[in-house]
Symmetry: C2
Subunit: 279 residues, 2 copies
């Protein structure tokens, strides 16, 4: 396993390898990330995992400064998982002028759902992923479905800008309670962690109702919001959307996703569940 | 020489070639373009010339519809010049949804100089060049200095988004009168074409004055504007700028560029001249 910190060294390594898969991360790795690595290994001769806490996707007042940096443990986990390269550039390596000047600007979806409360977030994600793609030049890249909107933005970007990269979505890893694995779960107290399972439980109940034929999406959304609010959550959004485009769900759609973001204590959590059915 | 219209065919051709140079054009080729091709040939095993009149870089009321499309003659010229591939995609090939959704957004320079009167132009250029880069995956790409601001935007984009492509600037080709070669010269009447040489003459005079020690850039700019206005031109701008960054020229700079845009009759022409000196 190579630990690489510079673009020059990464490019030099890249020249010797035919088919490369990239797993972009912000580190503080959990089983969800390792599942991405296992998927990536099945699609390429070598797997590069990037670890970079990307300042330009964090908003003012968000957790950029306290986001956990755990490179040493991450490298151990990735070595065990069979990654070939960990690319962990310093901030000065990706932003040598102290800032980014050219941005990849996604369409209106960037201002919906998580984008409503995180202006600039998806622009920052699209831009750093473009930079990583241009540095690593992967043939495939794996993204978790946990960040469903991010996955939709990246898939849209790759298609629209003609990037020659296959994007592979990977299923969400969950704790036994149903809580979706996330680096931000580390911010939760023990009590909050137990309670956090309410979010995924809500989504499962909504999915079951839809599968059973309920098409009153607005009522289902409202019920879930009410339930979580009554249990002390601040709900950012819970919405039923069309899975491919993330546009508003129509009664005729047969591939939906229920996406949610809510704050428990000081921690903002996101989760989602897909619902596929035939009419 | 291969004439290729689809992305799929281009990608398939690309796999067999090691080092590729790209010359992006909008067609209607003149000696300036052929000079780009000759430069490109010296830097790669194969040269791809793209021909695409890119709707998203034209503003409302600009000449997108009447821009000359001359593919047959262009192919002949490029065959003679030794290009290996002409990539001439239909609009539906690059914009299959009828529009572009993800854009590469340049910094503030996109709203200065030509950007003042052509809002969205450099965003459209940066976006289509990114798409062409992702399709052709060239090792080098050649751009003419005639479009000096475009060259600066592309160089900035490649650096800032970590594109692994060498950008090679190519000198301006001029008619005997000094008029910089441009597809838009075809819009000029015979009289206008003779008069058009006044623009490059102005720039040469300014350059001589600066080389001779004159550092009153504002006065030089004003004199040139006045001269052209008195001869029937509508001047968009004439400015002395720092050559690398296109920021406002300082007295201490020793690599300057004088950039100009002006309208003669119904035709908007641009030109520039670099001034290098040691103090």
């Amino acid at each position: 396993m190579h630990l690489i910190h510079t673009i020059t060294e990464l490019r030099s390594w890249r020249q010797e390898v035919k088919r490369v898969a990239l797993v972009p991360t912000m580190g503080n790795l959990h089983e969800g990330h390792l599942s991405l690595v296992r998927t990536a290994k099945a699609h390429a001769h070598a797997v590069v995992v990037s670890i970079f806490v990307n300042r330009i996707q964090f908003g003012v007042g968000e957790d950029f400064d306290r986001y956990p940096r755990t490179l040493e443990q991450d490298v151990k986990k990735l070595t065990a998982a069979g990654a070939d390269v960990v690319f962990a550039p310093a901030e000065s390596e990706l932003y040598p002028n102290g800032m980014q000047r050219y941005f990849v600007e996604p369409p209106a979806i960037q201002n919906e759902l998580c984008g409503r409360s995180r202006p600039g977030h998806f622009r920052g994600v699209a831009t750093v992923v473009t930079k990583l793609f241009n540095i690593v030049q992967p043939d495939v890249a794996c993204f978790g479905k946990k960040d469903y909107q991010q996955l939709a933005v990246i898939k849209g970007m790759v298609q629209d800008l003609n990037m020659n990269i296959e994007i592979i979505p990977v299923e969400i890893e969950r704790a036994e309670t149903g809580l979706a694995l996330s680096s931000r779960n580390g911010y939760l107290t023990e009590d909050e962690r137990a309670q956090a399972a309410q979010l995924s439980a809500c989504l499962r109940n909504m999915a079951k109702a839809i599968e059973a034929g309920n098409r009153d999406f607005a009522a289902l959304e409202n019920d879930a919001v009410m339930y979580l609010q009554q249990h002390g959550w601040q709900v950012d959004y819970i919405e039923v959307r069309q899975a491919q485009t993330l546009t508003k769900a129509q009664i005729s759609d047969n591939h939906l996703v229920i996406v949610a973001a809510a704050v428990l204590g000081n921690t903002r959590l996101i989760d989602n569940i897909e619902v596929c059915f035939s009419h």
